[in-house]
């Protein structure tokens, strides 16, 4: 039995184009002589803009009245193993493709002057990264998905390892090992599914089958290994602060905005629909880990002395909200979770862009080296204030809508989870406003005196984020509307089937027997 999909009717294979245009752009860059740095930049910029423009039909032509996969493309690829080249988007994935194409432009812009070595290679990495990210969100074949998933690892590893800070090698290797170990566990899970379901990697077909609970239980944890590391959930988060801190600005932005969303996306796309009974049974564990991440990540921010590290740890806290919303397993929580993934991409992406802008001027990440920046750089201070407010979930910004729906969903699922998560909002205001005070208020620190305010290029880089923050905050229905049908369909699937109690000891015992 095959799930119905809506094939692409746009007149050009939009998803393939979005995946391979950046990769073709990267190939084109290879041909450019190393010395022509500014040509390389312009190629990078134009290719990323072209990809963004081509992705706009996804927003305008998306059919919001169905949960079915849209813009689908399907071709046989490796028939002997029944691997297909199968792409499609639904309401859960479509916004992430748009986010990826937008973020790539901003990453190119913010790196314009700050990347001075191996310029051509840098833009090649960024463009390959873009293609792979879009591929991950579009794949409907598990092998194809895995291919893109692993492919992302390499350019990101290079971005950190080549253009990163002083401790970049350690951070890059740590990032690589962490995610690789997780991914390999997932691969085993994929292979198990392949054989059990009668040799198919077709995700939609896999979703039509039911699997024994024992198998679901083990697959859940195999997938968990891959996805939890990416999110990152407590306690597998320690790669994130190092990777973020050492990565160049563009690397941090891509990591924060898109890459770590893939973990949460994986839960939504695979764990929940394929393993519904195990997912339901594991809810208490997942909610607990989410709440720990929210509070742990927030409290740890109070003691950070490094700008980027603080924002990195705040991601742990914010992504805790996302997983809380997803595993609340109700409509508000899940829609809030998905929206918060976009929000976090916008806001934390914007914060890293901003930090990058000032780092280019001062070359220090120590909070103590700043102070009084609002007096010297008023426009920059205004932008950073908007991002700060969105980060602490002020109403009329996007952060509020996401956090509100998540905590409402979390509270409905489990009162304690909702109440404890809400404390994260208090601490969040604490560390962000304290950060803002130390960097922007008080007397002007000698190290920042006389800095130039952000220029037109930097304003153009930050402006889309400001607009998105208010757009989502004031009229979130424009974005929530994409999700309703797909989320409803997913929840129907998760909440059907028999109920299993969470008894890890029993499951492990049965395996040993």
């Amino acid at each position: 039995m095959m799930e119905q999909v809506i094939m692409n009717k746009l007149g050009f294979p939009i998803l393939s184009t979005l995946i391979f245009l950046p990769i073709a752009g990267a190939a084109l860059l290879l041909l450019i002589p190393r010395a022509k740095e500014s040509l390389a930049k312009w190629v990078g910029l134009l290719v990323s803009i072209a990809a963004f423009i081509l992705s706009i039909p996804l927003f305008t032509n998306f059919d919001k009245s169905t949960h079915l996969m849209q813009f689908a493309e399907r071709h046989a690829w490796i028939p002997s193993w029944n691997i297909t080249y199968y792409l499609g988007l639904d309401g859960i994935s479509v916004l992430f493709v748009l986010l990826s194409t937008l973020i790539t432009i901003l990453c190119v812009l913010i790196s314009w002057n700050s990347i001075k070595t191996k310029v051509k290679e840098f833009y090649i990495s960024i463009l390959i990264m873009e293609g792979a990210m879009i591929g991950v969100f579009c794949s409907l074949d598990f092998m194809l998905f895995y291919l893109f998933w692993e492919a992302m690892l390499i350019p990101m590893y290079l971005l950190i390892g080549v253009w990163g800070g002083p401790n970049r090698i350690y951070a890059a290797v740590k990032f690589f090992l962490y995610t690789l170990v997780g991914s390999v566990l997932m691969l085993v899970g994929i292979i198990v599914l392949y054989f059990y379901a009668g040799r198919t990697f077709d995700i939609l077909e896999l979703m039509t089958k039911t699997y024994p609970y024992q198998m679901q239980f083990w697959l859940f944890w195999a997938f968990f290994a891959a996805f939890a590391v990416k999110v990152p959930m407590f306690p597998v988060h320690t790669w994130l602060p190092d990777a973020h801190t050492e990565a160049p600005t563009a690397g941090s932005v891509i990591l924060a905005a898109v890459l770590i969303k893939m973990g949460a996306y994986g839960f939504l796309r695979f764990s929940l629909p394929l393993l519904p009974e195990a997912s339901r049974a594991m809810t208490p564990v997942m909610l607990t880990l989410s709440v720990i991440a929210i509070i742990y990540g927030a409290v740890i921010c109070l003691a950070q002395t490094d700008l980027k590290r603080l924002i990195a740890y705040s991601s742990v806290s914010h992504m805790g909200f996302v997983t809380l919303g997803i595993f609340a397993l109700n409509l508000q929580g899940m829609e809030g979770g998905i929206l918060q993934m976009i929000n976090h991409g916008v806001v934390t992406g914007a914060l890293f862009l901003s930090v990058g802008a000032i780092y280019d001027r001062t070359h220090t990440r120590q909070i103590a080296d700043y102070g009084g920046v609002a007096s010297v750089m008023p426009v920059y201070a205004t932008a950073f204030m908007i991002f700060t407010l969105a980060s602490i979930g002020l109403p009329a910004t996007n952060g509020f809508i996401g956090e509100f729906l998540i905590i409402l969903g979390g509270f409905t699922a489990n009162q304690w989870a909702g109440v404890l998560a809400a404390t994260g909002i208090i601490i969040g205001a604490g560390y962000m406003l304290w950060l803002y005070q130390r960097v922007f208020f008080m007397e002007v620190n000698q190290k920042v005196a006389g800095l130039n305010d952000i220029d037109a290029r930097e304003i153009i880089t930050l402006l889309p984020m400001v607009l998105l923050i208010f757009w989502i905050g004031v009229y979130p229905n424009a974005f929530l509307g994409f999700m309703h049908e797909s989320v409803k369909h997913l929840l129907e699937r998760v909440n059907s089937g028999s109920v299993h109690e969470m008894n890890m000891a029993k499951n492990i015992m049965e395996l040993i027997k």
Binding site: Y296, L408, T423, Q437, F441
Partner: protein, 639 residues
């Protein structure tokens, strides 16, 4: 006609114009945009008042804000009697304070920014009071909090100012934490967060209990108390009052507008708005009444010994807000809102007068360095004196009528704690009169105690500042005349007007009892004034001796009962300590990292591989390691 939409959106437009064009184009003309906008809002508000008095109310959605499954909420407006009183208070005070600021902020380098924030604040405050659902109320609630943060920290290069702004925001978040959960409980109970259906159905849940975090509690008590958490934060009641005195770091017009007349009364507004819920829970009402009464006493005692002119008025505000909660808690919501309305005028006036004094004294705040100012600034002196007579509850002045109404309804109402809070309220009336006149006498009477240079500079403020003082003074005297009780031959029009929204409180007492309550409060007020006159005009040696004789008490009061120190010791420092020493120092560094870095080491020589990434073995090792384990598991599963 949707004229009423202009009320909030004119100030929003002014904010956008000022923030975008102010720095480079409008500059020192920035005030025009903001003043015209808020004056326009005032005109429409008055028109709306006329409509409402004719019995016309509005409840309308503008557009759908958030839709997620069965959770639906719009940006929508409810204009009824309660809203319209708030509209008049907010737009009137805001307009006059805008005009005053032209003189007060003249020449400031962030002039456009100041007016932009004032406009934004006015917009948020109006959205708050005009909302027809809890989430939009919450939007306005957080919005005014944000503006308060901006304006307290307006002189952001001063550490104390930026500290105070941050403190205000974070302390309020503690209250909003409860408020937010209250909104969840409302949604889960009623399936909607619009006022109208919620209040209509509330009665049906009067006897329900609910399991909350493992405890079975009375549903309406729970919801009411959760909402009240928000009020406690926003209206600076104990134990979350600590932010308001520090908020005086902001420019004085801000203290008058936000921290006296409008924003801080939002908590009282919330309780009044949700009166259908609060009225279903005797426990919740009792908590509200006692919180209000204790706070008003507590803040008044601190106000007795402070020397900072603005902080005295700040403690006075906390104390008067307590009075309003006291009223709501005994079920006299309309009396609480009446006091909110009269208080807005005389308290805004007190702050603006204090600002006028500071203007003359080049920013000096210490009462002990003032004295004898009345001959230099007669308008400021006279208006401040009248405002103080009003707050002291001298018959005929606005404050008298609202205070008397509260005390009488506390005394005669059905509340089990009514007599107790009445007694506290009467003591507070005495203390209020005393500290208000201590301020007047120390500032304006006697001999000047500042430096010669300061004395040389003393001058009355410009007309742009004194005219708003005079206009507010009219309010401080006359605003109470709409609520003259039947006992004094009035019509109690205010209560009648509010009846459709807030109900009619029942007082059970004889006329002679009513006379008695009134007489006691008037005597309390006059003796407070008299004692202040004795201490600070006649026998100025007494307060000094008293302070020395009761040095323990004096120190306790002067240091505000050490509440700030207590919080710092209990919350702030432990949180940062935990983050530094436990989370970073132990959990992340010693436990998680030890495992992460330790596993490869244990497998053998992996740390060396880490140093030689470029060999390419890395991927190899990790893959083999993980696949090996997993293949075993997979085989077992597939058996």
């Amino acid at each position: 006609m949707n004229n009423y939409l202009l009320i909030p959106f004119l100030p929003l437009a002014a904010f956008l114009i000022n923030i975008l064009l102010g720095r480079n184009f409008l500059k020192e003309k920035a005030h025009w945009v903001s003043i015209l906008a808020v004056a326009g809002s005032w005109v429409v508000a008055v028109m709306t008042l006329v409509d409402t008095m004719a019995g016309k109310t509005i409840n309308q959605d503008l557009y759908s804000w958030i839709v997620s499954g069965n959770f639906k909420v719009s940006v929508g407006f409810l204009i009824d009697q309660l809203t319209v009183v708030m509209l008049i208070v907010v737009t009137t005070c805001s307009t006059l304070i805008h005009i005053y600021s032209v003189g007060y902020m003249h020449g400031d380098k962030g002039y456009y920014r100041f007016f932009a924030y004032l406009s934004l604040f006015t917009f948020c405050m109006l959205m708050l009071v005009m909302a027809n659902n809890f989430l939009q109320l919450y939007f306005g609630w957080e919005g005014v909090g944000l503006c308060s943060y901006f304006l307290i920290g307006y002189y952001f290069d001063k550490k104390s100012a930026s500290d105070a702004g941050k403190k205000a925001f974070i302390v309020n978040r503690f209250g909003d934490f409860g408020f937010g959960i209250g909104i969840f409980m409302i949604f889960l109970t009623f399936g909607t967060i619009y006022y109208e259906p919620v209040f209509a159905q509330a009665g049906g849940f009067a006897n329900n209990t609910v399991n909350f975090l493992g405890y079975d509690v009375h549903l309406m008590t729970l919801i009411a108390l959760l909402l009240f958490c928000g009020s406690v934060g926003k209206s600076a009641q104990m134990p979350l009052h600590v932010w308001l005195p520090d908020a005086m770091e902001g420019p004085t017009p801000v203290s008058a507008l936000i921290h006296a007349a409008t924003m801080v009364t939002a908590g009282v507004f919330l309780v009044a708005r949700c009166s259908p819920i609060f009225s279903l829970s005797e426990t919740a009402l009792m908590v509200v009444a006692l919180t209000g009464a204790i706070t008003s006493l507590f803040a008044a005692t601190i106000g007795l010994v402070q020397n900072d002119i603005k902080r005295i008025i700040a403690y006075s505000t906390i104390s008067q807000l307590g009075y309003m909660f006291l009223a709501c808690g005994v079920g006299a919501y309309s009396a609480g809102v009446f006091h909110l309305y009269t208080h807005a005028f005389f308290k805004a006036l007190l702050f603006l007068c204090a600002g006028s004094v500071m203007h003359a004294m080049a920013g000096e705040l210490n009462l002990q360095k003032m004295g004898g100012l009345k001959k230099y600034m007669p308008v400021t002196y006279l208006t401040m004196l009248l405002a103080s007579l009003s707050i002291a509850g001298v018959p005929g002045f606005a404050g008298f009528f609202s205070k008397d109404e509260i005390l009488w309804l506390a005394y005669s109402g059905p509340s089990p704690v009514g007599k107790l809070v009445w007694a506290i309220g009467t003591v507070v009336a005495f203390l209020t009169a005393f500290y208000s006149f201590r301020l007047i006498f120390l500032t304006f009477h006697g001999k000047f105690r500042g430096t010669h240079e300061q004395e040389h500079h003393l001058h009355e403020s410009p007309k742009v500042m004194t005219i708003p003082l005079i206009l507010l003074c009219v309010g401080a005297i006359a605003s109470g005349w709409v609520g003259i009780p039947h006992l004094l031959g009035g019509g109690a029009h205010f209560t009648e007007f509010m009846k459709p929204v807030l109900g009619h409180p029942e007082g059970h007492g004889t006329h002679s009892e009513e006379w008695m309550v009134m007489a006691v409060s008037v005597i309390a007020g006059f003796s407070g004034i008299g004692l202040a006159a004795l201490f600070y005009l006649v026998r100025t040696d007494i307060p000094v001796k008293l302070a020395a004789g009761l040095s323990g008490v004096h120190k306790l009061l002067f240091n505000k009962y050490y509440v700030d120190e207590f919080y710092s010791f209990l919350i702030v420092r432990p949180a940062i300590w935990t983050a530094k020493n436990i989370l970073i120092g132990i959990t992340d560094a010693k436990i998680i990292e030890a495992i992460v870095n330790g596993v490869p080491k244990a497998i053998g020589g992996f740390s060396q591989v880490i140093r030689k990434v470029q060999t390419g073995f890395l991927q190899h090792y990790a893959t083999i390691m993980a696949t090996g384990i997993l293949i075993i598991i997979a085989l077992m599963l597939l058996r």
